[in-house]
């Protein structure tokens, strides 16, 4: 019954999304891709997959950046097609997904202008999913308050920004703080939105978002060692929706080095496993890759259930991971640096 109600509005799009998902590259494809000698080989193989002729109109020789752009373009077209066909509440849900790209774009532009780069050089680097009208005029702002008043107040990010207005000026440190505060507010809002939607959507999305929140908390902590960020400020950046909240976050707040972070993770079964195999030595996977792997696993799980919005989020994330994988392989092929070519993260 629930399913039939879901299908009135979301049935077509869910079917579409699952269809798209079937086009995600399989392990066998990756095995073929890593055998490629040149980027032309890569192109030829990708032609045999769902990507089809997406590189057919590119003149040789191919550059990795072209592949990257085209991969992203295809993903964005698919996502925007779904967004254009969506109705409430799915449309809001999909919008929420784009907010994270908006945050990244804003930070990218501010950092860029801080380093005196011309805006025309920065715009192509922005993610097209996160572009908004006022984006290109962002460099009029010199302080966070101005940023809010002049640029962001019209965007959906405005409510997330309220906590940042108090910051004095835009230097490197403050930008990082703004990014993380924005992201924290965004994650919490997204989490609350999914909880409100209820049902299977809440089940699957809260799991994924909780992991996202925890990952941010852990990474912020690890990256803050050796910087001038105080512990009090650090606590303010932790998103309070994950499994670490509240005890784990309190423990993280006190951590002084990597070992202590690891000790905190020990208490949580899934995170302990991630920390155990991680390392920077050759043959070991970095913590970052471990996190990606776990994220992929969660996103794949979202497809096990039906009648929920999680599949859209998961599809986007999986596809992004796939783009990262293909670009990684392409980069390794282009630079003839084959020793690390196997460091991609397989999805299926």
């Amino acid at each position: 019954m629930l399913g039939s109600f879901f299908n009135i509005d979301g049935g077509y799009l869910e079917g579409l999304c699952r269809g798209f998902k079937c086009g995600i590259l399989k392990q066998a494809d990756y095995l073929n891709l890593v055998q490629c000698e040149t980027l032309e080989d890569l192109k030829l193989h990708l032609q045999g997959t769902d990507y089809g002729n997406f590189l057919a109109n590119e003149p040789s020789p191919l550059a990795v950046s072209v592949i990257d752009d085209k991969l992203r373009e295809k993903l964005v077209i698919e996502f925007q097609h779904m967004r254009n066909h969506a109705v409430e509440p799915l449309s809001t849900f999909l919008d929420f997904i784009t907010y994270s790209y908006m945050i990244d774009n804003i930070i990218l532009l501010i950092t860029g202008t801080l380093h005196q780069r011309p805006i025309s050089e920065l715009i192509p680097k922005c993610h097209p999913l996160g572009s908004f009208e006022q984006m290109e005029a962002i460099h009029v702002a010199a302080t966070p308050a101005e940023l809010y008043n002049a640029v962001l107040v019209d965007t959906p990010l405005a409510p997330f920004f309220v906590d940042c207005i108090s910051e004095q000026d835009l230097d490197e440190m403050n930008i990082e703080i703004i990014r993380n505060t924005l992201y924290k507010a965004y994650l919490e809002a997204f989490f609350a939105f999914c909880k409100d939607l209820g049902g299977t959507t809440a089940e699957s999305m809260c799991e994924i978002l909780a992991f996202e929140a925890d990952r941010r908390a852990i990474i912020i902590t690890i990256n803050s060692f050796g910087t001038e960020l105080t512990k009090d400020d650090r606590v303010k950046l932790y998103p309070k929706v994950g499994k670490l909240y509240p005890d784990g976050l309190a423990a993280l707040a006190r951590a002084d080095d990597y070992e202590q972070v690891k000790a905190v993770a020990e208490y949580y079964a899934e995170y302990r496993a991630l920390f155990e195999g991680a390392g920077n030595n050759p043959g070991e996977k970095t913590l970052e890759d471990k996190f990606f792997e776990h994220e992929v696993r969660l996103n794949v799980n979202a497809f096990l259930q039906q009648f929920h919005f999680g599949v859209f989020y998961s599809y986007l994330k999986l596809k992004e991971q796939e783009c990262r994988n293909v670009v990684w392989i392409a980069e390794c092929v282009a630079q003839k640096h084959r020793t690390k070519i196997d460091n991609y993260i397989p999805i299926f």
Binding site: L44, N57, E58, E133, I138, A150
Partner: protein
């Protein structure tokens, strides 16, 4: 025999000299009679032997697509002579590549120049518009300032005197052009970022401008922003940059503006001549390319197809020859040998290719030879299911049955004429229409099925005449065989009158062809026609199905499948005959035995039984309740015979369902492989149709 069954196929091995392989495959490709098997399924697409050639073809295709896009942009018609050039020799590939390379480079250069010129042109036109529009703003400003002056003076006179002494406040301004749809956010942003301390005026440019990069038509607006001070100036400029507005210098003095406008006008004219020359050059290049482009496309695609096919081949150990495996219709072996010989001759190789027949246990592919007339029907049948190898092909029968059964339903002379003439137009014009290569799906359905539609139309005309329907009206060609035998007063006084066939109203012999036109005006037309057409349809349907079942017998005999004959065909035919053929029989009995012009009540219209009710009662084992004067049955022993028929027919159901699986199961248990069970008939398609 090939009309009724798919072609006899043989698996062949083909040994080709490396140097002759290309031209041989080219010749075979023109024939289109072989199906090659992939001999290296485990090899990646990019690790195959001729991958570089395929890639070169890809590159050529890309250039051609670019050319095609540019040609379309300029709206130059592409010449399509419908000729089919042969695949060029591999050495000619280099020439083609060079030609395309040259064309592409030339075109890109021209495009670049044109774009730069267009950009220049756009800037000048924008400037022209700015100068024209801002004139109005400046005029207003001057007029407006005096108005505010008078107002301020009236309110606070002291201040105004002081300000007058200091002279009017020096206002800075920038003028520029922006996309029209970006005006509202632009204005809002200006207001917010400058806290309302700027003054924006804008005016729309009426004529759309051409975007040089995409050559789209875009609407733009002129704006002018007044502000005070340098800080605001830099901020305003930043916002303009952010909204991709283009700023232009605009002199403040009216005379300077006029002078500048004059200069701009002359420069625009100069630019126009240069631009026209560039366009002419571009047009010439494209027009030359447009003549050949379809030919080139075919050539490149043929080369690519040949190399794709060569990639399926195996290389033998000595690297001197290529080995291919292919399915070949045995009838055409000779033609293929000929083509191979031609290919070898063309390549100048001395060693002839070898074509070996191989024995195989594999099930060969189904290949039905078609021509332009039968292909539509074959597609229709294949849509329901492709017959297995050597199975009876229902397509030849479909050529008649499908249009006929359609016409039974459609049956109207007028509509049939329309349909037939539309299809006839398609058939007569098929050469010119086919050459147009129209891409529309709907059109292709009609065009592909033109012969089907033609036959459907012709048959509909026939059935329409039988039904005596022309656009749902009747034709009275021979004169009705009924007449009115009532006098005028009766006619005037009664609402409905009956014509009794057993009186002078009927001439005692039927209308010579089809339905009597008198039925058109009859009140009970629908009642009569419905039961009449329904009976006819049932008769046709039952015979059609019987025919289908008989075809399956033919199939079983061909494959020597005794099990299927015993457990499928016989129960099927019994079931069909005992229930439905019997019903058809009843109809004929009714038509023969009962009539209106008889004095015997029992054989008259009053006692004529309803076949539908009789049949329902038969299956339900009920006896019919007839009025006392009539007989209960249509013939003696009907009740017993009907019960017997139903019981036997019902007994056939479990036989049809279970007998064959059980027999196969038993055979398997005894470890006797039953091979021919896999060749199940696919003749259901005929039955469905």
């Amino acid at each position: 025999m090939s009309l009724f069954r798919s072609e006899d196929m043989a698996l062949c091995q083909l040994f080709l000299q490396s140097e002759a392989a290309y031209s041989c495959v080219s010749e075979l490709g023109e024939l289109g009679l072989l199906q090659f098997r992939d001999l290296n399924p485990d090899v990646n697409a990019f690790q195959r032997k001729f991958v570089n050639e395929v890639r070169r073809c890809d590159e050529m295709e890309r250039k051609l697509r670019y050319l095609e896009k540019e040609i379309r942009k300029d709206g130059i018609p592409m010449l399509d002579t419908g000729e089919n050039p042969e695949a060029p020799q591999p050495r000619e590939m280099i020439d083609l590549e060079a030609t395309f390379e040259k064309l592409e480079n030339e075109l890109r250069e021209v495009n670049q120049n044109a774009e730069a010129l267009k950009r220049n042109y756009l800037e000048l036109t924008e400037l022209k518009h700015i100068l024209r529009k801002t004139q109005v703003f400046f005029d207003e400003q001057e007029g407006g300032s005096s108005a505010t002056e008078s107002m301020t003076r009236a309110l606070i006179p002291d201040d105004s005197i002081a300000r007058q002494a200091a002279g009017p406040v020096q206002l800075g301004f920038v003028a520029g052009v922006i996309l029209r749809e970006r005006i509202p956010p632009f204005e809002r942003m200006l207001w917010r970022a400058c806290r309302g301390n700027v003054f924006l005026r804008q005016a729309e440019i009426e004529t759309p401008l051409e975007d040089p990069a995409t050559s789209d038509q875009v609407h733009k607006s002129v704006f002018i922003i007044f502000f005070q001070g340098d800080q605001l100036k830099s901020r305003v400029k930043k916002i303009c940059e952010g909204f991709r507005a283009t700023l232009y210098p605009c002199p403040e003095a009216p005379s300077d503006r006029r002078e500048m406008a004059m200069g701009v006008m002359t420069r625009i004219e100069d630019l126009n001549t240069v631009l026209n020359q560039t366009q002419d050059h571009r047009h010439r290049v494209l027009a030359a390319a447009a003549k050949n482009i379809t030919n080139w496309f075919i050539k490149v695609r043929k080369i690519k197809a040949i190399y794709h096919t060569l990639n399926l081949f195996n290389l033998d150990v000595t690297q001197k020859c290529l080995i291919a495996e292919c399915w070949v219709p045995t009838e055409d072996l000779e033609q293929i040998q000929l083509a191979l010989r031609r290919g070898t001759e063309r390549s100048g190789s001395s060693v002839p290719p070898i074509l070996n027949r191989m024995d195989t246990l594999e099930n060969p592919p189904t290949y039905n030879k078609t021509n332009k007339f039968t292909s539509g029907f074959q597609h229709l049948v294949d849509a329901y299911g492709v017959a297995s190898y050597r199975e009876a092909n229902p397509a030849p029968y479909t050529i008649i049955t499908f249009p006929f059964l359609f016409a039974v339903m459609f049956g109207d002379l007028g509509h049939g004429i329309l349909m037939a003439s539309f299809a006839a137009y398609l058939v007569i014009k098929e050469r010119t229409l086919g050459a147009k290569k129209i891409q529309s799906d709907v059109w292709n359905i009609f065009f592909g099925g033109r012969y089907i539609i033609l036959l459907m139309g012709l048959f509909s005309m026939y059935t329409g005449m039988m039904y005596n329907d022309v656009f749902s009206k009747s034709l009275n060609i021979f004169g009705s065989n009924w007449r009115n035998n009532y006098d005028e007063s009766t006619l005037m006084n009664s609402k409905a009158l009956q014509l009794d066939p057993n009186s002078t109203a009927y001439f005692k012999y039927p209308y010579p062809f089809g339905l009597d036109p008198i039925w058109q005006v009859a009140e009970n037309k629908i009642i009569f026609l419905n039961s009449y057409k329904m009976k006819i349809s049932i008769i046709f349907g039952v015979f059609h199905m019987l025919f289908g079942v008989l075809l399956s017998l033919w199939n079983h005999v061909y494959f020597r499948d005794r099990l299927a004959i015993m457990c499928e065909f016989i129960p099927q035919i019994i079931f069909m005959c005992f229930l439905f053929l019997y019903m058809v029989l009843l109809m004929f009995i009714k038509w023969v035995n009962y009539s209106a012009d008889t004095i015997d009540v029992k054989a008259g219209p009053y006692c004529a039984p309803s076949i539908l009710i009789t049949f329902i009662n038969m299956v339900l084992f009920k006896s019919s309740k007839n009025p006392d004067v009539c007989d209960d049955w249509m013939y003696a022993g009907q009740g017993f015979l009907q019960k017997l028929l139903v019981v036997i027919a019902l007994l056939c159901v479990p036989v049809m369902l279970l007998a064959k699986p059980i027999m196969i199961m038993r055979a398997r248990k005894q470890h006797q492989p039953v091979l021919n069970i896999f060749l199940s008939p696919k003749l259901k398609s005929l039955i469905i149709i």
